[in-house]
Symmetry: C2
Subunit: 94 residues, 2 copies
DNA sequence: AATATTTGGTTTACATTATAAACTATTTTA
DNA sequence: TAAAATAGTTTATAATGTAAACCAAATATT
């Protein structure tokens, strides 16, 4: 009856991150933090999970002398997001 | 940026239950169990949570001599579901 | 020049949650 | 009458989410 909802995406913060990353080329840690209103710790953990799943890539570099973490959604991540949205529609359609 | 997702509804099984209850007058435990593919234990726990939140009512009676648990969504439950769907749309809109 | 604060994170500990396993009680079937 | 099925509930465990505590470097303050 109902399709499974990818547990990696069925989490408010991770879904928010993925939603943002779907609409931009890439995003900095601080940008994601502001947009999602997450704490840095929580965001850090959830980004790692998305990265380990292969849904995003995380690049660490420096902006001037400050650390800079940049996230980009992968093909796999896009596909997972789309499938999640599709599955979800079953649950929320009127 | 993103609205909060009601944590009571942001759970695969509870969302499935609520989705079903939105479209029927009321539903028996066994019906919900089949449609959601949940184990009886899990379903029992999640129904209690929905009930405690005032999102559904649970009526226990007998069908012949067997116990019969009937669930009905409340006005509050409907409203919560609709708000959840609305909030969710922010996350998944293209 | 030392000290405090801010920035940009990560690690870890805790509390909550979800889930299945174990259990209860009755009923039906063999 | 013993076994298995029905209709659930309770409880123990594993997984999860989250914030608090932490770290290192840079910048601002006294």
């Amino acid at each position: 009856m109902f399709k499974e909802l990818d547990p990696l995406l069925h989490s408010q913060l991770r879904l928010g991150v993925m939603s943002l990353l779907m609409s931009v080329e890439s995003a900095e840690f601080t940008f994601l933090k502001e947009k999602t209103n997450a704490t840095a710790g929580n965001l850090s953990v959830q980004l790692d999970k998305l990265s380990e799943a292969g849904y995003i890539t995380i690049e660490k570099s420096f902006k001037g002398k400050k650390p800079l973490t940049t996230c980009t959604i992968t093909k796999k991540g896009m596909k997972a997001f789309e499938e999640y949205v599709n599955a979800l529609k079953q649950y929320i359609k009127p």
